[in-house]
Structures are given as structure tokens and as C-alpha cells.
């Protein structure tokens, strides 16, 4: 290994400097590892482009189907250029009890050949002042003498110099109940003395022209705390401050809910602890090159950008970390995520091991460990009241009081609860609401941002209430939904107007005509007559799920080489949904073909835009935003995490703009030059070919105004010859609306929905502003960011989905067989149909798991005890999901310019409540908890 200049030459890109440590994001290891199964898969890989419009297969298909090393867990030190080949291994010891004092570890069962070379304990970290990044809280390792905060809490890390000693030791210790020493006396859980992680309250009272009160209009409200419980004022004041107003309207709703003209569904719904169960358990590899003071990391993370910053801060704050001058982070493909690789503490444990070893260290959870320590979604207890006018059947108000189990270490449960509350209304117009949610610590493993982000829990309960109300009010379930559907001009529970058209009526109308729905009663009679040992049921639900975080910050770059190759770079990490495929495909509308290269998870070259962020985008004041935005390099957020439902709309936005600008300023002018030179009397008249929007691609060739089609390769060559625009890099920011800015491009001001730009020109470009084949920053001249008050809108981008479920229940066992499902989805413009279909099918499967099978108990029998695996945690198999009868309808876009919607989560929601309703139809019993197991059903039959 050389010095840091050698690092740069090796293609790492300096990301930032945090606390004196230069952080580099490194190219994906895929294709770069020393050990390669095949010399070259590029021949087959290039076939992905198919007919240049529709990909023949996924961009990463060849690698995945041939077992190439592309995942973090695949890599060993000998695979990575510059690393020593000798690999060391580590694993973490964890407690299984949270009601005893931890008294230390006992490794006496290890023989000499199993002994670790290094043992890291809390004492070790304390001496060296090594701590978690602040996001994860204190006590990276629990010290003896303390009561654990949660089952599964980490107490020590053992490092082994070779695989065999590691393996033998792990086999010896993993289920050995003598390894962790506890006090004999039982101790109260530490949660009893802790305040909630967060509390949210969303109150709204509609008005005629403007709301009488709403978060968007009036602001957010927060309680006081007494004895670690949130306490709200008992009385309000319509003319008082924000809190007093909110309480006034809340109290009014709570009084009015007893109105005898209203029918109220007043029920408590509970959900379970769920394991995301991505098939690649968390893993890490790393090496600290002390000679060059460079720490190299291979992490499996959905949020590498946050990792860069937090890892840098973690090292900078420790004296030991001061030996680190450079941090090089590789972010390979992920074998699934579902939120469980987003902001997890795991890679930081890996990083710590490197401080105590000269060898590369592999840290990899097995499945028992993943259950014990990986991020979960824990129970929601929702006390709901949904009130309807008995006459009109219109919703009059929604009240909820949700208690969320936030697990033993704070993570994303706060935002999860907020999003769950703010999206709960789903497709319905709610004129008055009081939505309260509190997140409490518990002794369960960490709960974070699992797929669904709280909305599966809240929206499923909303649908269950709608179905029950239909029954009580003796109205058709779809008709009840129609009566209450959200319409143009309506505001959501936060007082904001959701973006776009709402096609809920269209979906309801389609579902109503489906034969399974139309014939459900007659078919029930017939089916049960022919299958006397079974009960038959049909259920319907619809949901509309928000996508976006209110602080989306995608970056993309697209460039065309002289040979017409298209290279795309995006910050997004591939977890499975096919982001590289969709990003590579979407450029074809502007560039005539699919990309040759799509580079993910590395923010290569984005540094050219020199962007900085300073404050939390959610907490920044309007004044501060106004002040900071005068700096042309300032943005509310530089990088965003790769979360579900974020690539189709947000990542696509920047890639689309890049490709469009290349057509506008590069390929189209090149075409015009060719046409006017060869096919026009250029010397005698001024050419008028129209602007680039009049051009279109067909069979990989561009034409306009009747002039001969020209292929991409020819255009690219010409664009390079002319020194035209051949590469565009952009950054954008979205707080429920895109920031916009003005940039000078070739002497003309252009208003674009971005806030950062860099341009690259072709071979012959020669000027300070136009460097050839190199991106150069173009500072914005003006910018307009969405106002900070829009943070209170909470959700405005929505993607609706409805699911009809037909099932049969065995009377003998209570087991549910899914016979048929039909899903209606409004995905906006579909980038790659097969990928959207895959999301529907996978979402259905995960929803079925939520509804019928998946659950972890609390306490010492729960996941934290380290004994859970797939033998005890039932993930749906093909036979459980009606695999041959998954049908769907994708609503076509309303126009060519419809954006793509983030649908990765909504597809798993309506199936849950549809199943619960179908069970009711089958056996005339409503359940208010998830999962509804065979044993639950059997009891009722």
C-alpha cells in the first residue's frame, strides 16, 4: 500500500473530512476483486440491453445467477487488492437476560486451540475512550455490574487469528449458558426508569376556507414528561398558543365522539415483533493499515453515506482513532435489506475490532445472531376510534393512541411512529383527527426502520375498521370506501394537500367488478358444499402509502463516451428491487438505449459539486435555511440512505434530468449539425429543426422533422468532436416538493428542479468553464428550497394499492390456504415492468407473513435469547402465498410525464387486512391482533 495519493489513484474518491480523517468511498468490489471465478462476464452482461428499450434481464443478473462475488459477506481479505491475505475473525458475545446484573464473561470452556487472541470488553473501550456514534447512544459494550438494557445487548468482542479457532470457539460458546455471568437476584428492567424515545401528536380540525387547526398551518406540539410519561394539558384554548389550540380541538373531538348520531368503531389493535429476515445476515470485513494510517472497510449498509460521517466522528473522538488518517469504505451489493441494514450498529462493532488488530477482521452474524441482534419492528398497540355519521356513512373523526415498543436501544422507532400516524388515514378524508403516538424503550432487541415504516401497522388497522364499519352500518365495504374517499382539494390529517391525482375511485370500481368479489357469497356456499372440511372467505382492502422522507437528496451522473457507451452513477445501494436495472433502463428515452454501466453505492465524482450540509433538514429554521442557501454549495442534505420506495421516484428524478440535458445540449445539437451539413442547404438558409423535444428515438436512432435517423454511437462521436455536453451530474433535494435553481448552461439560464450541477464536455472542449472529459462545477445563480414549515406536512407523495384475497381455512387445523390474490397498483410511469411485478409478488409474500405467520415473543423467550432461526420463525413458502394465482393490474399513467412512484412498501399492506377480513368472511370472527395464527382460528371454529 502506498500513501494517500496512491489511494486516490486507485479510484477512491475522497468523500469528506470528518474530524481530520479523510473518508473515501471506494468503487464497488464487484469486478475488481483479485480472486475471480471468471475472467470476464462482460460478454454475457452486455446482453442485458436487449432491444435497447426493454432490458432482457436485470443489470446484475449474470453476476447473481453465476455466484460472482458481489456481496460484502462474500469477501475475504485475500480477495481485496492491497490487503494482507491472512484473515482474522471476530464474533460478539451478547446477554440473553435483561433482568439480572451482568457480572462478566466466562471463557473457561475454551480449550487452548479455541482461545481468542484479543478480547474487547467495555473496560477496553472505556480505557481507550471508544464510543458509539451519538445516534446509537451509550455503552457500546455493557460493563459488568450493570443491568442490560435489552436482551441481546453486546458485552464483548472476541478476535481469533484463524478460522478454525474462531469456528470451534463460536460452536462452543454460542448456546453455552455459562458464558455470560449474571447475578442470582432478579432486577427490574431498566426500561422502567426511562422516558419515551419520542411522542407525536397530530391534531387537525377542518375549516371552510382554511383549517381551524393543523400541524402544517399551526406547527407541531410536544408534551411535558412526568414520571417518564408524556403529559398533555387537560384544557385547551381556541385562541391560545399552538399547544392550547391543539388541545382545544382534541378535547372537542373526544367529546363529540360520543355523539349518538355517530357510529364509532372503538377497538384496540395489536401487532407483533417482526424480523426483517433478509437472507444475507449482517457482515463486515475490514483492515487497518497502520503503515499508511488507512482503515479499509467493507460494510453491508443501506446508508453508507451516514456511515461515512458517523464512522469518521466515532474515530475522531477517540484517542485511538487519531491513528487513523484515512477511511476507505466499500459498499457492495446487499443480499436484502428491508430496513435491517439501515442505521444499524453492526458495522461500528466491526470498525472497533480493527483498532485492536493488525490483521483484516471478518465479523459476520450467523442467523441465530441476526435474530438476536438485528433490527426488528416491535409491537404497536393502537387504541383506535373511527367515527361515522350513521346517516351519511361519512367519517366524522379519527382518534388513535398508539404505544410503540421501541426496543432497547433508540433507533428509528420515533420517525416510524410519526410516519405511521401521519399516513394512517390512507385513502380516506378525515375532517377531524387526534393521532397520538409514543415510543417506549423495552428490553427487546433494537427496533428500527423495517419495510413499511409503521404504516403497515396503522393502515392495516384502518382497513380493519373500515371493513367492520361496513358490516355494522350494513353498507357494502367498497361503497363505504367510495363514500369516504379522498378527493381533490381535501387536506390530509396534517393539513397538507397530497401531490397528484388520487385514483382510488378507479381502483375501487375495478375491484368491485372483479368476479371473486362479485361472487364471493355464492362461491362461499358452493365451495363449502364441495369442501366440507373447509371454510371459504374473501376480503378486500386498499391503502395508499407515502414514499419519501421529507429530506430526499438523490445524486446522479450520466455520461456518454466517444464510443457511445452510457455510464451512470447513483448514490443508491442495490438491495434487490433492481435499482441499477431501472436506472440503466430509464435513460433510453433520452439516449436511445440502455446504459452500459450502472455504478451504485458510490458517490464517485459527486464531490465535484462540493456540497455541504449543516443542520438537520427537519429541524433547521426558515431563517437559517434562507441564510445558508445563499451559499451555492449548501444543500439541506448531501446524501440520502437507500430505503424502500425511494429509488423509483427520487433517484430516478436526478438520473432523468442528467440524461435529458445530455440530449438537449449534446446529442441533439450533434444531430442537428449532421442534418444541416448533409441533408440541408445550410449555406443558403437557416436551419430550423425544432427543439430537442421534437426529436424521438426509434430502434436506437434519433430523428426529428423527417430527417434521417442517427444512431447513438455516431451522435456521441460528433458530440465529442464538437466539444458539446457529454456528461451531466446533478444533486436534488425534496421536502415534499423539489428545490429548484437556475444554472447557466452554455450561456443560457435554465431553471431546473435540482440544487447542484456539474457538467462535462466532449473531447475538443477547451476552456476554463468547459473541460473536456472532466466534470466541472457550475454554481447555481438562484435557488428556492421548499419552506421548512413543509416538514409538518409529513407525507404528501402517495402510491395506492388494493388487494383482494380469496382463501380457504381448514376446519381441522385452522390453517389458511391463499387461493387467489388480485392486486391493483398505481405505480406511475413504470420503468421496468418485471421489477414492479416482482415488488408486488414479494410484498404480498411479506404481507402474508405478517398476517398469518411471523411473530417473536417478548421477554426471555424472544429473539434476544439467541435461539431463534427459520425453524421456529415461519417465513412464508411458495405454498403459503398462492404462488400460481398472484394476479395484478397496473393502472396506466395518466400522461407521458407521470413520474414513477415508490411502491416497494405499499404492496405489502392491503393484503394484511384483506386476509383478516377474509377470515372474518370465512368463520364470522374478527381478529384484532397480528398474526392471526392457525391456532387462533382453530379456537374459533
Amino acid at each position: 500500500m502506498g500513501n494517500s495519493s496512491n489511494l486516490s489513484r486507485r479510484g477512491f474518491l475522497k468523500q469528506c473530512v470528518v474530524g481530520g480523517i479523510a473518508i473515501y468511498s471506494a468503487p464497488l468490489l464487484f469486478g475488481n476483486d483479485k480472486f475471480k471465478t471468471y475472467s470476464n462476464s462482460k460478454l454475457l452482461q452486455s446482453d442485458w440491453k436487449g432491444d435497447s428499450i426493454k432490458p432482457k434481464f436485470r443489470f446484475d443478473a449474470i453476476a447473481k445467477v453465476t455466484g460472482e462475488k458481489i456481496y460484502g459477506r462474500d469477501y475475504r481479505s485475500k480477495d481485496i487488492e492491497g490487503w494482507p491475505s491472512k484473515q482474522s475473525y471476530a464474533f460478539i458475545l451478547r446477554v440473553t437476560k435483561a433482568n439480572r446484573v451482568f457480572e462478566g464473561i466466562n471463557l473457561s470452556s475454551l480449550s487452548n486451540k479455541m482461545k481468542p487472541s484479543v478480547i474487547i470488553t467495555a473496560d477496553t473501550l472505556k480505557k481507550d475512550d471508544v464510543n458509539f456514534p451519538p445516534f446509537f447512544g451509550k455503552e457500546m459494550l455493557l460493563a459488568p455490574g450493570k443491568v442490560p438494557d435489552y436482551e441481546g445487548q453486546e458485552v464483548a468482542i472476541l478476535i481469533f487469528d484463524d478460522f478454525i479457532s474462531y469456528k470451534l470457539a463460536k460452536d462452543n460458546l454460542q448456546f453455552n449458558d455459562k458464558v455470560i455471568k449474571y447475578s442470582s437476584t432478579i432486577h427490574p428492567l431498566t426500561t422502567a426508569s426511562k422516558a419515551p424515545y419520542s411522542t407525536w401528536r397530530i391534531v387537525r380540525e377542518e375549516g371552510l376556507l382554511k383549517d381551524k387547526y393543523s400541524p402544517l398551518q399551526n406547527g407541531l406540539i410536544f408534551p411535558n414528561l412526568e414520571n417518564n410519561k408524556p403529559v398533555w394539558p387537560k384544557t385547551g384554548d381556541e385562541n391560545g398558543d399552538t399547544l392550547q389550540k391543539a388541545i382545544h380541538y382534541s378535547n372537542k373531538l373526544h367529546e363529540d365522539i360520543n355523539n349518538e348520531d355517530w357510529h364509532v368503531i372503538d377497538k384496540t389493535f395489536t401487532t407483533q415483533s417482526i424480523e426483517p429476515a433478509m437472507l444475507e445476515a449482517e457482515a463486515f470485513n475490514g483492515w487497518f493499515d497502520r503503515k499508511t494510517k488507512t482503515m479499509h472497510l467493507v460494510i453491508c449498509s443501506q446508508s453508507p453515506a451516514d456511515f461515512y460521517t458517523q464512522a469518521g466522528e466515532m474515530l475522531a473522538h477517540s484517542p485511538m482513532g487519531k491513528a487513523v488518517k484515512n477511511l476507505v469504505v466499500h459498499s457492495p451489493y446487499l443480499g436484502g435489506g428491508f430496513g435491517a441494514k439501515d442505521h444499524t450498529p453492526f458495522p461500528y462493532f466491526g470498525l472497533v475490532t480493527l483498532l485492536y488488530s493488525n490483521n483484516p477482521i471478518s465479523l459476520a452474524n450467523n442467523r441465530f445472531e441476526q435474530f438476536q441482534s438485528g433490527i426488528k419492528r416491535h409491537p404497536f398497540e393502537m387504541k383506535n376510534k373511527l367515527a361515522f355519521d350513521k346517516e351519511s356513512k361519512k367519517i366524522k373523526g379519527l382518534i388513535t393512541d398508539i404505544e410503540v415498543d421501541g426496543g432497547g436501544r433508540a433507533n428509528f422507532s420515533g420517525p416510524v411512529t410519526m410516519v405511521g400516524l401521519s399516513a394512517m388515514q390512507s385513502i380516506y378524508y378525515i375532517p377531524r383527527n387526534d393521532l397520538l403516538g409514543s415510543v417506549y424503550p423495552s428490553a427487546m432487541p433494537i427496533a428500527g426502520s423495517m419495510r413499511g415504516f409503521g404504516t403497515l401497522q396503522t393502515m392495516a388497522s384502518m382497513e380493519m375498521m373500515m371493513n367492520e364499519a361496513a358490516s355494522d352500518l350494513k353498507v357494502d365495504p367498497i361503497e363505504l370506501r367510495r363514500i369516504n374517499v379522498f378527493k381533490a382539494g381535501n387536506k390530509n390529517t396534517q393539513g397538507a394537500i397530497p401531490n397528484g391525482d388520487y385514483r382510488y375511485l378507479e381502483m375501487l370500481n375495478m375491484a368491485e367488478k372483479h368476479p371473486i368479489w362479485e361472487n364471493r357469497h355464492s362461491k362461499k356456499l358452493q365451495y363449502e358444499k364441495e369442501n366440507s372440511d373447509k371454510k371459504y372467505g374473501v376480503g378486500f382492502s386498499i391503502a395508499t402509502k407515502d414514499y419519501g422522507t421529507g429530506a430526499a437528496a438523490p445524486s446522479s451522473s450520466v455520461e456518454i463516451t466517444e464510443n457511445g457507451e452510457i455510464i451512470i452513477r447513483v448514490g443508491y445501494v442495490e438491495m434487490g428491487p433492481g435499482t441499477n436495472t431501472s436506472q440503466g433502463a430509464l435513460v433510453s428515452k433520452y439516449l436511445g438505449g440502455l446504459a452500459d454501466e450502472v455504478i451504485l453505492g458510490e458517490m464517485k465524482a459527486f464531490e465535484v459539486m462540493k456540497q455541504i450540509d449543516t443542520d438537520s433538514p427537519y429541524m433547521i429554521s426558515q431563517d437559517k435555511q434562507d441564510k445558508m442557501s445563499k451559499n451555492p454549495q449548501w444543500t439541506p442534505v448531501v446524501h440520502m440512505a437507500s430505503a424502500a420506495s425511494m429509488s423509483a421516484y427520487f433517484q430516478t428524478h436526478t438520473t432523468d434530468i442528467c440524461a435529458r440535458l445530455i440530449l438537449k445540449h449534446g446529442l441533439y445539437p450533434a444531430a442537428v449539425e449532421i442534418w444541416k451539413t448533409k441533408y440541408f442547404n445550410n449555406a443558403y438558409a437557416k436551419a430550423n429543426f425544432g427543439d430537442y423535444t421534437s426529436a424521438s428515438w426509434k430502434n436506437g436512432k434519433l430523428s426529428a422533422a423527417g430527417f434521417p435517423p442517427i444512431d447513438l454511437k455516431t451522435l456521441a462521436k460528433k458530440a465529442h468532436e464538437m466539444g458539446l455536453l457529454t456528461g451531466v451530474m446533478v444533486h436534488a433535494f425534496n421536502r415534499w416538493a423539489w428545490a429548484s435553481a437556475t444554472f447557466d448552461i452554455n450561456g443560457v439560464n435554465e431553471d431546473l428542479l435540482i440544487d447542484g450541477l456539474a457538467l462535462q464536455y466532449g473531447n475538443t472542449a477547451k476552456s476554463k468553464k468547459k473541460k473536456s472529459n472532466e466534470f466541472s462545477l457550475v454554481n447555481r445563480k438562484t435557488v428556492s428550497y421548499p419552506k421548512t414549515a413543509l416538514n409538518n406536512a409529513m407525507v404528501t407523495y402517495l402510491a395506492p394499492c388494493a388487494t383482494l384475497v380469496e382463501l380457504a381455512i381448514s376446519q381441522k387445523s385452522g390453517e389458511v390456504e391463499i387461493l387467489n390474490t388480485h392486486t391493483w397498483l398505481e405505480p406511475g410511469t413504470v420503468l421496468v415492468k418485471d421489477l414492479v411485478e416482482g415488488q408486488i409478488e414479494g410484498g404480498l409474500s411479506m404481507g402474508i407473513g405478517h398476517a398469518l405467520y411471523e411473530s417473536l415473543p417478548q421477554g426471555e423467550n424472544g429473539a434476544g435469547n439467541g435461539t431463534w432461526n427459520f425453524s421456529s420463525y415461519h417465513l412464508p413458502l411458495a405454498k403459503d402465498v398462492g404462488v400460481w394465482n398472484m394476479n395484478y393490474t397496473l393502472l396506466p399513467p395518466l400522461s407521458k410525464s407521470d413520474p414513477s412512484k415508490g411502491i416497494g412498501e405499499v404492496v405489502m399492506i392491503p393484503v394484511v387486512s384483506s386476509i383478516v377480513e377474509a377470515i372474518h368472511h370465512a368463520i364470522d370472527k374478527r381478529f384484532y391482533h397480528l398474526p392471526v395464527t392457525a391456532a387462533d382460528i382453530k379456537k374459533e371454529i
Partner: protein, 176 residues
């Protein structure tokens, strides 16, 4: 400690001494650096880790590598995911096997972690059907029997199953 002599993807490997405790998947990963076979659960439930074993008597089977020791494969001929595609003399990949082709064209997988297990199981099924064709009406059930215990968290299985069904029905000699 045991001796392990293996033929992996047609290549004979010299005998090595291997601790009895080492599972086959650990041998593949840590000793042979063949990481295409994936670790899913470690208790023989998810089937992500299965490889094909070609027995001396001509029979073939899939075996889980996470719960079977490396030593238990002594003298066996095994096929892993890395061995299915054809390479030219320069080790460039030039052709996938029909199952791999079917799966990629059907967009059968997403994150891909379960894919090597599905490919191995499905490849074995195709080979078995060549010698024991089935009725067209049994295709769905046979696919379910073969692949039904493989866990996938991403896809809902539908495109794996559709891909296999299309492949079986379009391959001469597998159905009657």
C-alpha cells in the same frame, strides 16, 4: 480430523485434511473461496446453501452444505453455482445453463441471495425430468415439490416458478 478429496465442478481437488467440525459451506467459503453458495440459516431450513452431488451410482441429489460436514462429502463429485455456466478457454463466461437463462429472463430473483440454491435445485430437477418425463398437467406440482422448501424473502416465488414452468414446457423430452 478427516481427509477430504473432492471433485468440484469437474475439477479434481487434491486431498486435504479438514477438521470434522467444519461444515461444507465453511469449507467452500474459507478453504476454496467459493462464496457463490450462500449461507442463509445454518440449520438446514432455507435451502440457500444446497449444492448438487453426483453419486458414483449415477444418481444425483442436492445436499445442504450448512448442516453437513465437509468430511461427509469425501470422494464426492459436487457442482456449485460457479460451475454451471460454460466458459471459453480464456475463462470468459460464454453461456449460462438453461435454468440460469430461464431465471434471468423471467426476472426471477431480486437480491439474489437464495438464487444459487434455486439454480442448483432446479438444475437437478431438469436433469431428472430428462430421464423421467412427467405429464404436462403435473408440471406445477412437480415444481412445487422440488422448490417448495426454498425460502425467498424478496420475490414471493412467482417468477422462479413461472420461469421453471416455461422452461420445462419448452424443453423437449421433459413432458409427455
Amino acid at each position: 480430523m478427516s481427509t477430504l478429496k473432492l471433485t468440484i465442478n469437474g475439477e479434481k481437488n487434491p486431498a486435504v485434511d479438514i477438521p470434522d467440525e467444519v461444515m461444507m459451506i465453511e469449507y467452500l467459503h474459507e478453504y476454496k473461496n467459493l462464496t457463490g453458495t450462500k449461507f442463509g440459516c445454518g440449520e438446514g431450513v432455507c435451502n440457500a446453501c444446497v449444492i448438487i452431488v453426483d453419486n458414483e451410482d449415477g444418481t444425483k441429489e442436492v445436499k445442504k452444505t450448512c448442516v453437513n460436514s465437509a468430511a461427509s462429502f469425501n470422494n464426492k463429485k459436487i457442482r456449485t453455482i460457479e460451475g454451471h455456466a460454460k466458459k471459453d478457454k480464456n475463462e470468459n463466461l460464454v453461456k449460462l445453463n438453461p435454468v440460469q437463462e430461464a431465471f434471468i429472463e423471467q426476472f426471477s430473483f431480486q437480491c439474489g441471495w437464495c438464487t444459487s440454491g434455486f439454480v442448483n435445485e432446479a438444475t437437478l430437477l431438469m436433469e431428472k425430468l430428462k430421464t423421467n418425463p412427467i405429464k404436462k398437467t403435473d408440471v406445477e406440482n412437480v415444481i412445487g415439490d422440488a422448490l417448495g422448501n426454498h425460502i425467498c424473502r424478496c420475490t414471493g416465488y412467482a417468477k422462479y416458478y413461472e420461469g421453471m414452468k416455461k422452461l420445462i414446457l419448452s424443453t423437449d423430452g421433459l413432458t409427455r
